[in-house]
């Protein structure tokens, strides 16, 4: 059953690094699964915890957040706030009975197209293993 399951993944990508990294993956003709719906945000720090919950509520099986490497944030420390938020959100998800692996944060610089393709592939595999989000049956 899990073989046919194609997860839906929402990816919040920051304008300055991760989105450019995704672009780089595209221009380098690197293949990665088409399960990802990218949403460009100015900074990973713009990703309010509410966005994450909202994505899950609307049927995402996984939420991916891509930001600049620590120290490289265009807005100095937006990505560090995201890191803390994601840690807290993982605890929240766990308490709600959702596997915290469904939320993933990665640092991807504008040149790391290969890394983007690799982590997305990994993440899709991981979510396939986990199966559909328990939220789906609650909707």
């Amino acid at each position: 059953m899990k073989e046919d399951f194609e997860p839906k993944i929402v990816a919040f990508l920051c304008n300055w690094c991760a989105y450019a990294g995704a672009d780089m993956a595209g221009t380098s003709r690197l293949k990665y699964p088409a399960n990802v719906v990218p949403i460009k945000v100015m900074c990973s720090g713009r990703v309010d915890p509410e966005f994450i919950l909202n994505a899950f509520e609307k049927g995402a099986d996984g939420v991916f957040i891509g930001g600049c490497h620590p120290g490289d944030c265009h807005y100095v420390n937006g990505n560090l706030r995201t890191r803390r938020r994601v840690k807290m959100m993982k605890k929240l998800l766990e308490q709600m009975g959702v596997n915290p692996k469904r939320l993933r944060l990665e640092w991807i610089s504008a040149t790391e197209g290969a890394k983007f393709a690799r982590v997305i592939k990994e993440f899709v595999e991981e979510i396939k293993e986990l199966g559909p989000s328990p939220w789906r049956e609650r909707r």
Binding site: D48, P49, E50, P70, R84, M88, G97, L130, W135
Partner: protein, 312 residues
């Protein structure tokens, strides 16, 4: 409109107690002398807690004959749901009264578990329960998960608070009797906090303390590292709890333009952290109960609804 023509027509009021602690019913008496003035303007037609009336009597009333129906408590049983729908039919204005009706409140935390788990915890595994009997006969069915009033019927107005504090209630009643359904403050509690002046320009938290772990120095709780829901909570109560040296736990709910109070506060707390990278995990882990801290009153608005299980 009718009120103007016939000056002495009193507004018909109903009050119902759903799944809740009963504090909301009492809070209506908490407006003290104002209640006497109020009684000149209103006629209570249905209030099971305070008057002798049966559901059949409510059924016999004409549709839309009640001017304002206050519903306090959440919807946990079939009975609660039935009366909510019946009141909606009979009332012109349906008002969610108190945190339970609006967002599920503390009892909404039970939505993290399913019915079986709840019954086991309450009736079977509870240390103080000697006879292990599950209630079964002649009782309204226990719903799979707790619902808020607006998940069941259309709600026209909300009176927040657990229970609604006096100033909030007075303003709300005045507004409702004039037919207004929008009232209340649109700022965060910090704006009217009695400790407002002690709030530093920039709050930085390097360690979290629980209430009992630190001697209160009388300053802004967040600045002391004690989680206070003030920044994400709607003002109106004038900081009653803080006046009693207890940090805000957020019963007034989210600000009008915020959908998720817990997420807003969680986000704020993450921004206020000022710790070295290596210590970050430890500090975040010291918040033991994320849902109980940030969603104490609004778990029913989250999605577990009877517990979620993520396989593997």
């Amino acid at each position: 409109m009718e009120g103007k023509k016939m000056k002495n027509v009193k507004k018909k009021i109903a009050m119902y107690w759903g799944a809740g602690c009963g504090g909301c019913d009492v809070s209506l008496l908490g407006i003290h002398e104002k209640l006497l003035d109020l009684l000149d303007e209103i006629e209570i037609v249905f209030w099971p807690c305070a008057m002798d009336i049966k559901y059949e009597d409510l059924e016999k009333m004409e549709d839309k004959s009640i001017d304002i129906a206050f519903y306090n408590g959440a919807i946990r049983t079939e009975e609660n749901e039935e009366i909510a729908k019946l009141l909606r039919k009979k009332a012109k204005l349906m008002v969610a009264y108190g945190s339970c009706a609006i967002e599920g409140c503390v009892i909404g935390l039970a939505n993290l578990y399913n019915k079986k788990e709840i019954f086991e915890a309450v009736y079977l595994k509870n240390e103080t329960t000697k006879e292990k009997i599950l209630p079964s006969r002649d009782l309204p069915e226990f719903l799979p998960y707790l619902k808020t009033l607006d998940q069941v019927v259309k709600v026209d107005a909300f009176i927040p608070g657990c229970p609604p504090p006096k100033p909030v209630l007075e303003e709300a009643l005045d507004a409702l009797l004039q037919g207004k359904t929008k009232f209340g403050k649109e700022v965060a509690l910090c704006e009217e906090c009695p400790r407002k002046d002690t709030k530093p320009e920039k709050i930085e938290i390097s360690k979290f303390y629980r209430w009992h772990e630190k001697e209160d120095n009388g300053e802004c709780f967040l600045a002391q590292g004690i989680i206070c829901m003030g920044p994400a909570t709607r003002a109106g109560c004038k900081g009653e709890c803080i006046s009693a040296n207890i940090p805000c736990t957020g019963c007034m709910g989210a600000l009008p333009r915020v959908r998720d109070q817990g997420a807003a506060m969680l986000s704020a707390i993450a921004s206020l952290l000022d710790v070295e990278d290596e210590k970050e995990d430890e500090v975040i882990d010291s918040i033991k109960d994320i849902i109980g801290t940030f969603y104490k009153y609004s778990t029913a608005k989250l999605l577990p609804r009877g517990g979620m299980k993520d396989e593997s």
